[in-house]
């Protein structure tokens, strides 16, 4: 398919991203470039434009690719005709010597990204399927683009990228106008537009070609190696890939500049390209040359649960987990006051969310051995591969079944007049679907909480969780307990709109039927699990731990019983203790213990966000 390519040189701004892609074109050993940024910022346009440069071969990895197509398998037609199993190369093999482009790489199913990783690491594509065993070279460099709003990237995959660039839209009105003007001009007359830029494109292709020729002569001495190590260490980067990436990138930069030696600028720029995703810092704030010391490592939101047996895979880089708001450049002055206030609220709310969903995800993965992407036994989800069925063959994988049958057609008397299929040929689809968490807040709305403010905060948390959890597919519900009863204020939903409407009026005051609140929350989650087998429940109890109302027995004892039942139902939980008095009754902690849940004090949720906010959004930092 011929597609109208936008010229690389005609992309307005995005100098960092352009530089990164050119470096990769010159030095494939950089491994890969990841462009991470908000929607509509020309990420894909830029990468696809790169394929227009001479000497760059771009192979695209569509999101709907299946495993067999990625790796390759038996060539159907030859097998039918001759009975011979001939290897049909997959996408990875076809990408040998090329640049493989995965748009929305964070949405790639685990099965695919796993195969991608293996091949990227070894440079060899190994296929063991359809009765053939085949190995072929697949040395490619990888370019990924992603929108962090849509979910995170697996850390192992993230680490493979030599270069990371946070892409943001143009904020200067003049450049914004230019973006629009060129987009309109290109759309109106793509051929004419390309002709206009042909000279710049040719020059750029030439630059890349001569840089490639020059690259082997660019020497790296001990001093440069030391500098790279120092830069990597300053950034707290884990492993040795960081140093290598810096050096590879710096050499490419020197070659692009027509030099055979590195200078300090090359190394600094290379560090800015190679380190953002390796330092434990926000992905949206790339290291600045002005910043003297590397930012201190962020405290992990819940190291406690990690200590309790989470594997390496469970650790999410805080990078992509940031709320989209933080990717925003500082607001123009006229708006500053207003937008800061909005961000403050958003940040605070976000912290709660990070704690909770982080935990939900971890639990889910620990439980099933998978991330939030779950192999599903139903016919839902996307087909990523195929397998030999156990029992009855439902949900047939047609291609795989035919490939299995093909080599036997000559023996079975099948062929051009029709294939002969046997049950032993049947292959069924392996599907993967994204499963979100089902999160129920059980909130103390009694008088003892002084509860109006607390309820408002919870409402904010519910809404903000709904708002930036599209990709996670989380559902959120809210149970309030007060007076004599616990009531569901919001049934599990994904709708911001609905939550907003249902939570307009939040009743508070009265006594605390803690046990009833826990029971109601458990009931909601149990119900959901019955409806959807793959549901990942999480109960969030927000209370000061005073139980002073019961259906007869001792309120405290009843609450503890209810907590035990939550644990027995295998529903993970988190407790947030809102008690502010000096003398702690400690019931919240006790309940947490019964549920095997971590217990946070409300101050813990409060202390950090402001500091982060100031660091991330003060005009001085920008």
């Amino acid at each position: 398919m011929d597609r109208a390519r936008y010229p690389f040189s005609a992309v307005v701004g995005q100098e960092r991203a352009k530089q990164a892609l050119l470096c990769l074109a010159v030095e494939p050993r950089i491994g890969g470039v990841l462009l991470c940024g908000e929607k509509g910022t020309a990420k894909s346009t830029l990468v696809r434009a790169m394929g227009g440069l001479e000497g760059v071969h771009l192979v695209e990895l569509p999101v709907s690719t299946t495993e067999d197509m990625l790796l390759g398998g038996v060539e159907l037609e030859t097998a039918v005709r001759t009975g011979r199993r001939q290897f049909q190369p997959g996408l990875l093999a076809r990408a040998d010597g090329a640049v493989l482009y995965a748009d929305e790489i964070n949405l790639l199913p685990a099965a695919l990204s796993g195969a991608l990783l293996d091949t990227l690491e070894s440079g060899v594509c190994r296929v063991e399927r359809d009765g053939i065993s085949h190995t072929c070279p697949a040395r490619f460099s990888l370019v990924g683009t992603m929108n962090p709003e849509e979910g995170i990237l697996r850390p192992q995959l993230l680490d493979r990228f030599g270069i990371y660039v946070a892409v943001i839209g143009e904020t200067e009105p003049e450049s914004r106008k230019e973006v629009v003007r060129r987009a309109l001009a290109f759309e109106t007359d793509p051929v004419g537009f390309r002709a206009q830029w042909a000279r710049q494109e040719a020059r750029l292709s030439e630059t890349v070609a001569s840089a490639r020729a020059l690259l082997p002569q660019v020497s790296v001495g001990e001093a440069e190696e030391q500098a790279a190590c120092l830069l990597a260490r300053q950034a707290n980067a884990a492993g040795h890939r960081a140093e290598l990436s810096i050096l590879h990138t710096a050499r490419a930069l020197a070659a692009l500049a027509g030099r055979t030696y590195l200078n300090m600028d090359d190394l600094h720029t290379a560090a800015e390209l190679a380190l953002p995703h390796r330092r434990r810092e926000g992905c949206e704030t790339p290291p600045s040359r002005k910043a003297e010391a590397p930012a201190p490592q962020e405290p992990q939101p819940d190291s406690s649960s990690r200590d309790r047996g989470g594997s390496v895979e469970d650790v999410q880089p805080p990078a992509e987990d940031l709320p989209p708001d933080r990717a925003q450049p500082p607001a123009p002055h006229s708006q500053q006051g207003q937008s800061r206030e909005r961000l403050e609220q958003g940040e605070e709310v976000y912290e709660v969310r990070a704690l909770l969903t982080g935990r939900a995800d971890r639990l889910a993965r620990r439980g099933s051995g998978r991330r939030s992407k779950t192999r599903s036994a139903t016919r839902r989800g996307r087909a990523v591969g195929d397998r030999i069925p156990q029992g009855k063959a439902e949900d047939l994988a047609i291609g795989a079944t035919l490939r299995a049958a093909a080599p036997y057609q000559q023996v079975r008397g099948g062929g051009a007049a029709g294939l002969v299929l046997l049950p032993s040929d049947f292959r069924v689809k392996v599907r993967e679907s994204r499963v979100g968490a089902d999160i129920v807040f059980a909130v103390d709305a009694s008088g003892s909480m002084g509860a109006a403010r607390r309820m408002k905060e919870v409402k904010e948390a519910v809404l903000s969780m709904l708002m930036d959890s599209y990709q996670r597919r989380d559902r959120v519900g809210l149970v309030a307990f007060r007076g004599g009863e616990a009531s569901t204020l919001l049934a599990l939903t994904r709708s911001v709109e609905l939550a907003q409407r249902e939570l307009q009026f939040l009743p508070t005051g009265g006594r605390t039927p803690l046990a009833a609140g826990l029971e109601e929350a458990r009931r909601l989650l149990e119900l959901q699990r019955r409806r959807m087998k793959e549901s990942l429940p999480l109960l969030v109890l927000i209370t000061d731990g005073r139980a002073n109302f019961s259906r007869g027995g001792d309120p405290v004892e009843e609450a503890i019983q209810a907590a035990r039942r939550v644990a027995e139902s295998h529903i993970p939980a988190v407790v947030i203790d809102t008690e502010r008095q000096f003398v702690s009754l400690g019931l919240a902690a006790r309940l947490a213990q019964e549920m095997g849940a971590p217990c946070y004090r409300v101050e813990e949720l409060r202390a950090r966000p402001l500091a982060q906010l100031v660091r991330g959004h003060s005009p001085a930092a920008g």
Partner: protein, 335 residues
Amino acid sequence: MERYEYPFAAIVGQEKLKTALLLNLVDPRLGGVLIQGEKGTAKSTAVRGLAALMDEVEVTEGCPFHCRIDGEMLCDECRTKPDRHTARYRRRVVELPVSATEDRVVGTLDLERALKEGVKAFEPGLLAQANGNILYVDEINLLEDHIVDVLLDSAAMGVNTVEREGVSYSHPARFILVGTMNPEEGDLRPQLLDRFGLMVEVHGEPEAEARKEVVRRRLAFETDPAAFCAFYEPEQEKLRRRIAAAQDRLSQVALPEALFDTVARVCTALQVDGHRADITMLKTARALAALDGRQEAAEGDLRQAAELALPHRLRRAPFEQGGGAELNWGELFHG
């Protein structure tokens, strides 16, 4: 059996919705429409009614993607074939049911040919049908994630690339995406939201008189669809001519420099993500001027365009109600 669609021209009220849909016929690259609203508010009727307003075009005979004879984006076969025969093709509304499987949407291995002849051939899916047409997804917010991913990809690129079931294939898939949703049943991912050029919220007609008229016309249509359609045919024809004239005029409509300034100012002030909003606002203003028979887009067009192109792209703070419906446009444009 002849099936009648309720004529577009007979829809009572819903001016914003109708305008948004017509604009997409005038400029097919506008990016489609997302229609939000409750059940029973003429959403589907309006979208399906577009079919009767769409033009006939010249395409390659027998091409499963109905590549235009004079088109830029051609499938491999049309691009390499020396002499292509021309066929007339009426552009249409292709519906993507929420239950559609990925195979059905992107296309897959042609099973029949594979079984009968042992030959590997591509069987086009809904995206192939949608090329050059309107792709209509009712209740798009209920679509499975992975289908949405595929839609996003094709909608952005105008190309459907298939790597499945042993077939590697890619073909043009440039379509006008029209989706409807009831926001109470869950939200749409922001990424998909941003791909929609325009967004309108529809509500039932509040006026008693208008409501009565809605019912009256509906009953008349159900009683005798043929007569009803015939009655509205002159108005439909008028609409068709208006669209055709606007299509012809579109490329000549001038966009004064001041409009670029306004767009940059408004989008910067609102902190809209990325640049799609800027681009869509100007294109919408241009299409509005064309539909109105003018040679130059004006500030008023831009303001109307903003109401269609911006609300779904605004960041929603957690505590604000709804989208940007209550934004003060006047202040924004002159502040």
